[in-house]
């Protein structure tokens, strides 16, 4: 049997609720409803799931999805051994067995045929057939499936199938409002509130340019990076350039505008 303890979230993650999402998640978990967390990158989706796992005291198994992932990467496969083969569970199977919260991060990155394997786990059946092994797993009563995705990518290739979407309850996340975000940045890094507020202001500038040359604005995560650098003694203007501007754009005009915003804010 897999060691359950290794999946337990040990330390309380810092999570600042924006609205009533904690209570709603708890209700979903009580009824073991599958949950989908939508929102732009770096707005706290993964942190939220981690926090909820900790709060509910359940193990959490996270899978970062990617294009090359196949169904057997999720479910499990036979491995060769000296005198035969051995079945090894994939993360989804493990979670279903031990009663963990299975978190499939950025689900749209996975190939669409891969995502279909989660379907039987997400409806009333709550089973996972391992056809290669000839086993039907009935999910542990504590098991829950959570997926996240970023609807910001405007492309017709990367979208969830309706049949997948309609199996989940959903949270729509967004960047928190300025005051709250400043508090989050300050709490997370121990930076001074005034600095955090200025960082958030610059973040706002970048977010306002979304769609005008920027695909995504500056995420809360990047703001935290910037605050961390400042806390470490880096000059604020340099820290912002490094953490907020350079990562998100190569467009010279946008870069210059953001640099100007930084200078104007930290003058």
């Amino acid at each position: 049997m897999t060691d359950k303890a290794q999946y337990q979230v040990q330390q309380a993650p810092f999570y600042q609720p924006q609205k009533n999402e904690v209570a709603l998640y708890e209700a979903a978990y009580r009824n073991r409803l599958p949950v989908m967390v939508k929102g732009p990158t770096g707005c706290g989706k993964s942190r939220f799931v981690e926090y909820m796992a900790w709060k509910l005291g359940k193990p959490l198994i996270t899978v970062a999805c990617n294009e090359d992932m196949t169904a057997s990467d999720l479910v499990g496969r036979y491995l060769l051994e000296a005198n035969g083969t051995r079945w090894i569970d994939g993360p989804l199977t493990t979670a279903a067995r031990i009663g963990a919260i299975c978190y499939l991060d950025e689900i749209v990155e996975a190939r669409q045929d891969t995502t279909v394997v989660i379907h039987p786990l997400t409806d009333h059946r709550r089973t996972l057939p391992l056809d290669k092994k000839g086993e039907l797993i009935h999910a542990h009563p504590d098991f829950q499936l959570v997926i996240s995705y970023n609807p910001g990518y405007q492309t017709l290739m990367k979208d969830l199938k309706q049949s997948t979407k309609q199996r989940f309850t959903a949270f729509d996340f967004d960047y928190p409002d300025a005051a709250l975000e400043a508090r989050i940045v300050a709490q997370e890094t121990g930076a001074d509130e005034a600095v955090a507020a200025r960082l958030v202001k610059i973040g706002g500038v970048a977010r306002a340019l979304k769609g005008h040359g920027l695909d995504e604005g500056v995420s809360t995560r990047l703001l935290v990076y910037a605050a961390t650098l400042i806390k470490d003694g880096v000059a604020p203007t340099d820290a912002c350039r490094m953490a907020l501007v350079r990562p998100i754009t190569d467009d010279a005009d946008i870069r210059e505008t953001l640099d100007h915003a930084i200078d104007a804010t930290f003058a």
């Binding site: 036979y78 017709l156 290739m157 505008t257 930290f266």
Partner: protein, 763 residues
């Protein structure tokens, strides 16, 4: 010389030395000599007379001589009299060539040019440019003899001072070079160009100007407005080049924000007396925009009728300072910028006994309101500053409050001399501030709207030959039903034009095409497909291998094909590009000399080229409508065709007219797309306005119909995506297309935007 008139013997001697009989010269000779003697050294004066004599003997009439006699002393004053030999050398060259006619214009402007250049080296450069110009544009037959005069030279010489006012010498050289290169063999065009009559002469002039051109930084400023201020408007340049007397000032109205077309970098002495500060043109633009945004955010128009011009001016100064204080609160970095651009009038620069000092007082006050280290000591001023800060400490304050502060300040500091005609202007103009026209409303003038007649051109419809119409229903949102067979769509092959036009457009965007190609290469390997059951492959296929092993262990013959490899499969996307060809496409895109139609042609050509490279099946069609009985659907490219000359010819012939009945066209395009076998079907709709038609009086009707069409297409698994060129599209495009749209707000960037957008959509 008339016998009776007395002439000073010295003057008479000079006159003899000049050795001329021109009566016009004689009439002004005394004055000329007096002026020349004041400026020139004795040697210089002798050379001046001698040169005058030579020019008089050229046989070109009185004009060149008179021009020289009048102009040279001031030219010599500007660049030194030692420049004379090189000027004379050029005149000799002109004389020997067929360009003698140009000597007069040359001499008439040489003084202004010299004054502008202020150095002998630069003047020499100018002479070289002129000589080079002359030699290259003077006509020759068989390359031996120069026989025809240069057509553009006199024009050029006449324009030279104005040109140098805006261009550096290097810029002038480029401008001349452009003209010579393009119009050497075309005398009439050459004249137009060098006389600044042709459009490209002005365009090239604009490009070569010194300083920061609005056109170059427009996007940055747009991003600045959006990003830092959540504001957006058209930036409309006004020219600072041709208006010498009244300098235009930035302002804004409902058509956009007016800013100068160019700002030079500004070097100002630092407050602390250290290194002078250099303010980039871009930052000057930003200061203007920030100031205007401040007005838009916080200012409230006041009724002006009851206030005197002085009172209004004071209110404006106070209000400007209020909004700038608020702006600085928002972004502290603006403080140093404003202060650097704000004049710092010295306290005693204006004499109140002789001059109206109101402007001066207000400029000082304005400085003091913004600059804590102003150093003025006037009691009224300090009191006003203190009251201003007290009000601002409460919050944002208001235009009203500023007005009452301003009125009491004006009342307190009024002087009789404020009425004087002589007004102190020096150091009182804050050039990043707008003219505050939005701050005032006048009751008396009334606010009648501008009446304009919507002009709609309805040409007599030409007979459409070809297929019988197809009928489509239209959605009536009022009754939530379809009107069956309501719209007649006539389809036809688009008439053909000249394919070379499109090739030329593509060549124009060569650099962009190269960039796109890089992106395309990245895009091509779309779907990785595993090929299993390979004896040799790139990877072990674990599942098959295990099966083989089990077979092997259990004594059966194992399958040796235990490897797999990858292959990149083709993309399976069918694309339909639907172009709105309504009348409004004939409008000029703001900020560009091209019509929207031309820009669309360029964009579509690039996109078609790109999609052809990708190999996706792709069709292009255009549509317009003239009532529901006549919706025309014009095929430009079919799925079966390649991006070849025939297609290009059709694209080249694209014309705009009539209206936009979008729903019917989308349904018709949809039926073609639905017939394709492809995993993904994408319909791109390129439009510049809301769906409308002459027979649809309810403007929501066709919007709702288009929305319904999008829903129908969705049911057929067709993904529709709209690219709107209408700046006001946000009002309705979301209603039609949901989230599947982009508004391209800088239409002139469409050619690069469209292919990029397509790739992003299908990545």
């Amino acid at each position: 010389m008339t016998e009776t008139e007395y002439r000073h013997p010295l003057m008479a001697a000079y006159w003899t030395r000049l050795d001329t009989r021109f009566a016009q010269v004689e009439a002004v000779f005394d004055d000329l000599v007096a002026e020349a003697l004041a400026v020139l050294t004795p040697e210089g004066f002798a050379a001046y007379l001698e040169a005058g004599r030579v020019i008089g003997k050229l046989g070109r009439g009185v004009e060149p001589m008179l021009a020289f006699m009048e102009e040279w002393p001031s030219a010599a004053k500007a660049v030194g009299e030692s420049a004379l030999p090189s000027v004379m050398a050029l005149i000799q060259r002109m004389q020997k060539s067929p360009n003698g006619r140009a000597i007069a214009p040359f001499l008439q402007t040489v003084a202004s040019v010299a004054k502008r250049l202020q150095s002998q080296e630069l003047l020499q450069d100018y002479l070289d440019v002129t000589l080079d110009f002359m030699e290259r544009t003077t006509g020759s037959i068989h390359g031996h003899h120069t026989t025809f005069p240069s057509p553009g030279l006199p024009e050029f010489l006449a324009q030279a001072p104005a040109l140098l006012h805006q261009l550096s010498l290097a810029g002038l050289k480029n401008w001349v070079e452009y003209g010579i290169r393009n119009y050497r063999t075309h005398p009439e065009r050459q004249k137009d160009y060098f006389g600044l009559q042709s459009a490209d002469a002005r365009a090239v002039l604009q490009r070569e100007r010194h300083g920061t051109l609005l056109a170059d930084v427009e996007r940055k400023l747009d991003l600045y407005l959006r990003g830092l201020w959540r504001d957006h408007d058209h930036l409309v340049p006004y020219s600072t080049a041709f208006d010498e007397i009244r300098k235009p000032v930035p302002y804004y109205d409902k058509l956009g924000i007016r800013v100068p077309d160019v700002y030079d970098d500004l070097v100002v002495a630092a407050d602390t007396g250290g290194e002078p500060v250099r303010i980039r043109g871009l930052d000057r633009y930003r200061a203007v925009l920030a100031h205007i945004v401040g007005h838009r955010r916080w200012s409230e128009a006041q009724i002006a009728d009851n206030w005197s011009p002085f009172q209004r001016m004071a209110v404006e100064f106070f209000e400007d300072c209020r909004i700038e204080t608020l702006l600085i609160r928002e972004y502290p970095g603006l403080g140093p910028l404003f202060l650097a651009l704000h004049p710092k009038p010295s306290a005693d620069a204006c004499d109140p006994e002789t001059t109206s000092c109101l402007r001066h007082r207000l400029a000082m006050l304005s400085r003091a309101l913004l600059d804590p280290g102003h150093g003025y000591v006037d009691a009224d001023l300090l009191d006003a500053v203190q009251r201003f800060h007290a009000v601002m400490a409460q919050g944002e304050s208001s235009t009203q409050e500023m007005a009452s502060l301003a009125l009491s300040y004006v009342a307190r500091t009024r002087r009789a001399s404020d009425q004087f005609a002589k007004i102190h202007f020096a150091d009182t103009v804050v050039d990043y501030r707008d003219d505050n026209r939005q701050l005032w409303k006048f009751i008396e003038e009334g606010d009648e709207e501008e009446a304009f007649d919507a002009q709609r051109k309805i040409e007599p419809g030409e007979e459409i030959r070809g297929l019988p119409p197809r009928h489509y229903p239209e959605w009536d949102y009022g009754s939530q039903t379809y009107r069956p067979d309501w719209v007649s769509v006539y389809e036809a092959l688009h008439p053909a034009g000249n394919a070379a036009d499109i090739d030329r457009l593509l060549a124009k965007h060569g650099a962009l095409a190269k960039q796109l190609k890089k992106l395309l290469d990245l895009l091509k390997p779309q779907d990785k497909v595993r090929i299993r059951y390979q004896e040799e492959g790139s990877e072990l296929d674990l599942d098959v291998a295990i099966r083989s092993l089990i077979d092997f262990k259990s004594g059966a013959t194992p399958d040796p094909r235990i490897n797999m490899s990858h292959r990149t499969s083709g993309r399976d996307i069918a694309v339909m590009l639907l172009l709105d060809l309504s009348e409004s496409l004939n409008e000029k895109a703001p900020g560009s000399g091209q019509t929207i139609l031309e820009l669309s042609q360029e964009a579509v050509s690039l996109l078609a080229w790109a999609i052809e490279k990708l190999g996706d099946p792709f069709a292009i069609a255009g549509f317009h409508s003239n009532t529901r009985h006549d919706v025309r659907y014009l095929h430009v490219k079919g799925y079966g065709e390649h991006w070849n000359d025939e297609v290009k010819a059709r694209l080249a012939a694209m014309e705009a007219g009539y209206s936009t009945r979008m729903g019917a066209a989308m349904r018709h395009a949809g039926h073609y797309l639905a017939a394709r076998r492809a995993d993904k079907k994408l319909m791109l709709v390129l439009t510049d306005g809301r769906p409308s038609d002459v027979d649809a009086h309810d403007e929501r009707l066709l919007v709702e119909d288009a929305r319904q069409a999008v829903k129908e297409l969705e049911q057929d698994d067709i993904f529709t995506y709209c690219i709107s060129l209408d700046a006001r599209a946000d009002e309705y495009v979301g209603d039609i297309f949901g989230r599947q749209y982009t508004v391209v707000d800088r239409v002139e960037r469409l050619p690069e935007k469209l292919p990029a957008l397509f790739m992003a959509l299908t990545k």
